[in-house]
Symmetry: D2
């Protein structure tokens, strides 16, 4: 193997730049040429590909976003699109790929690798932490800390006004951010897609808590089965029907995606990036380089995409105990 | 004067605790007894009043929210309510008040002072910076920096995906936060209640910017005449009608109210608090202690409430120039 | 078991409060009475012990330091001191202890438990991450992020002036903080007690780097065998002997100990605290509740104290590769 | 005037990049060509000069340091050096200069402007806030907040261990950072070059405070007449001579110079930058564009350099009152 390329795809996540940097420098360290593909699969199709040097990735380890940019690609979903993409890779002499992203990115990588036989290794770059084959995804720790700092701020206001706050955090299919925010932020209740919590339960809990606490924080994952934070708040208000209680909602939104990565995400991104390149050099393909129990583990893309990664039971217990 | 009391009212603002601390310690330093009234006018009516000591305000200078809590009081809007409040003050022997809050707080203070002759001095505690008689209000600098950090984070994602982001910041009647965020955050456009910007202007600007920039940030004050950020984005999308452009909206919401105060807000809060107590001791009343041009200035409540505080023209010019 | 007590000892670490909160609430949740012992072993000897309630630990999960305070105790090193301590525990009816701290704390706990048969479980509270039996210690992630943010700031100045900066981070016997800071902060070199790096190696590396980089950052663990950052810088300057190079040193010091804990430290602290109480209830003693590979593991105090926890080899490799 | 140039000189300060950005864009907005001179006077001598475009200053408003870099220049102190510098400016057709820096920068600018008649306007870029002609210097607010956050962290540890902490902040000739940190950080004592505080006074104060407080923080400006924090601590320890008291020292150092600028510094930098260019266009020279009482004011370089900017008396009073 002489030439490899790296790209980011799907939603951006803090630590992606650290990962890109590690891919580039590990490649160069092992005497490979490393190329960067801009805008994910879209740039692959359009040949938006440039050679990377050691200095191309200077001073980015601490930056959010991705210097290679990201985009959705409708064209890549077609056979013709992927053919074009492959021609571009061939044209540049690229013999291996590192794909940084989540489920969608890996699905595309899997097809590309199967259709054209080009080796691909993935790095888990997504804030949602919902990928099987790695204890944590790159970006999760930063998103979590951003959400937690926001909750700390909201708590100041909740306490000052004796309010009940519903705070919506990211997580369409996954309650990871919500659950860890709940523990770390001292939330009274957490609502996640993985567990059923009825509005009646919420109302009962809040009434119970009201006896000892003047303010409460309910953390809601955006994908909860009862709706987003605003919808849940309205349902709860209707049930409680007490004008004296002061309910507010806040949706953290896109701030959770950006920002300088935490130490953990910089290190995780760097580690996965190095492991991806070394995996390619060892002939691995069609798998993701993740960190499980403090060791590099390569997991078949198929498992990454199809296997579940359930919430830790201890965490659900912690929320129940700590909110008393 | 032997006994004074302090309270916070209206929306909480970072730096209120620094102000409370300064009121308490300045009072004690000058051999006054200082009381804290909980929950603003509501607590005054209910006699929720307690003596404060030097240590009562230890370790709070760096905390957001307000240890005296805040609440709206319907009862205080009635003569009977205010009578009760006055009785409570009399019962505790309180001869002077420091009221920390915004316009609504000062309106209440003015009536109380007129009806019962009790001296009151206000401190400008609100994140909106829309109070005449002080260059800055307590909490504004923190809210501004919180909003700015959020914009920095959103910019990472905007740049990674070549997006146009509409970010809504606080400011129902005032564009202060939006304008300063716009300059500090490098926004391409700022929409505030004080100036008219039509949707057509926005569309034209964004199209023009698109020639040189791949991503754009539009900061919207919640009280803009064209609506909030979500509404404006929908209008703009309809006009531009280009499926390739990626529009997103994010509303910063309540996180702007909380958090540890910045240096400026701690110092401003402390300074105003000291000035309020010294003003009471000098016989001043029915006025606010603000800082104008780096000096303490006492401004009649009536002026604080009724006079406008326009946006700086230089700032509007800065936004126009810097967004090229 | 009806009554347990919790205390913190040794250097404070962010997340200790989250741990205390979890101990108190888990105890109460399981119908135990929970006492807090102030000032570690010193307070145990002096009977500085108070009952804790659910609300005693409200609003502390996000705070650095320790509400139970910490102190060194010379008296506890004597048999008489420990006897007094035991008498106080007996007097309060305390049947089990949770000891939050590091090696020194556990050594004391071990002796106490052996001499008087009182069950003790430890929680790993120290920023150094040098305790066997847990992947991470409570406080390490926060200290690491604090150090990293400081390095980010110093890099701005290093880059602006083309300087070589020697930055000293905590770690008397352990290079954990230094190594992870090095990877996350993009340092050119890292010097730690666990590996030998001669001044000649440093000089050679810096000269090599100088060909491609205008500024460099060297992270030094305070316990490196060549000395602290200031001493190493002087040695290097003498060897390089080039007046045009601009060397600077900065010692991060105590800021690494304080601050609001990160998400990870709050969760880790909470989890260990819950596990410690449940361990006591199950009859465990003389061991530490740590988290290994995302599961609670109880490790004999003796192993915690005597066994080594070596640096990850992959991390040393990462530093070598990423600094090219 | 058709062509102007901008440079930074002296110690870097957060907000310098915002200022550079404003100079470049204001120039281009007014149809000027704008050049950037690298490494201050050194780059001017060596002709390290490049044309700047709108996009040259994209995405830097939020970054610490200076993209134009900074350096000391011995050669510029000689007539020959300055002659070379002027030749380079002439060669590039540069008809006006914006000099961002402090006293030393302005001294150089003044000589250059006098010797060769080239118009120069300065912008006050230094963290020390010791320049006459502007209420605040660019970088001061960020340095202050960085120092304050550090003090907040140290306070956690001070409180946990009942310690007396001596914290050294920047300020060789000026106590601005120390005094505002003292107020904002709730310090018990502040020692600055502008006022005499004997070791005896410190000892007396600390003994007095000890009666009511278990921990104390003393903020020391590095240029205090009694020495730096370490030296003062040793003197105090010797006087107090009490082994039970736990003294610690921490020197914040270079972290105060870097980091993302605060809102205030970004706005101040932008505003001064715009004013400098507009001043040059109006024929102004040999003066600094500062902000006094929320308005642009141009002050003769001579006044900036020679006139004193005393500490606010109210601030010294605040420290006395608030530390009770």
């Amino acid at each position: 193997m002489k030439k490899i390329a790296v790209f980011t795809s799907g939603g951006d996540a803090p630590g992606m730049n650290a990962c890109i940097r590690a891919v580039v420098r590990t490649g160069i360290y092992h005497n490979l040429d490393v190329y960067g593909i801009m805008y994910g699969y879209d740039g692959m199709i359009n040949g938006d590909i440039k050679k990377m040097y050691t200095h191309s990735v200077s001073n980015i380890v601490q930056r959010g976003g991705t210097i290679l940019k990201s985009a959705r690609s409708e064209e890549f979903r077609t056979k013709e699109g992927r053919q074009k993409a492959y021609e571009q890779l061939k044209k540049h002499g690229i013999e291996g790929l590192v794909a940084i992203g989540g489920d969608g990115t890996f699905t595309g990588a899997q097809i590309l690798s199967k259709e054209f036989g080009i080796p691909v290794i993935g790095c888990p770059g997504t804030i949602d932490n919902d990928i099987y084959g790695t204890d944590f995804t790159i970006g999760f720790d930063t998103a979590l800390n951003t959400a937690l700092e926001a909750i700390d701020k909201v708590r100041d206001t909740a306490a000052a006004h004796d309010r009940i706050f519903f705070i919506e955090v990211m997580g369409r299919d996954s309650g990871y951010i919500a659950v860890e925010c709940g523990i770390g932020g001292g939330a009274e209740l957490v609502m996640v897609p993985e567990t059923k919590t009825s509005i009646k339960d919420v109302v009962k809990s809040l009434k119970g808590l009201r006896k000892t606490k003047t303010s409460s924080i309910v953390v809601v994952a955006e994908g909860d089965e009862e709706g987003g934070a605003a919808e849940i708040m309205e349902k709860v208000k209707k049930e409680i029907n007490n004008d004296e209680l002061d309910f507010k909602v806040t949706t953290l939104g896109h701030i959770q995606r950006g920002g300088n990565p935490t130490a953990k995400d910089r290190i995780l991104g760097s580690w996965c990036g190095m492991a991806a390149v070394e995996g390619l050099m060892q002939g691995k393909t069609n798998c993701m380089a993740g960190i499980v129990h403090e060791e590099v583990v390569y997991t078949d893309f198929n498992d990454c995409i199809t296997k579940d990664k359930p919430l830790k039971k201890d965490y659900l217990k912690l929320i129940e105990i700590l909110s008393i």
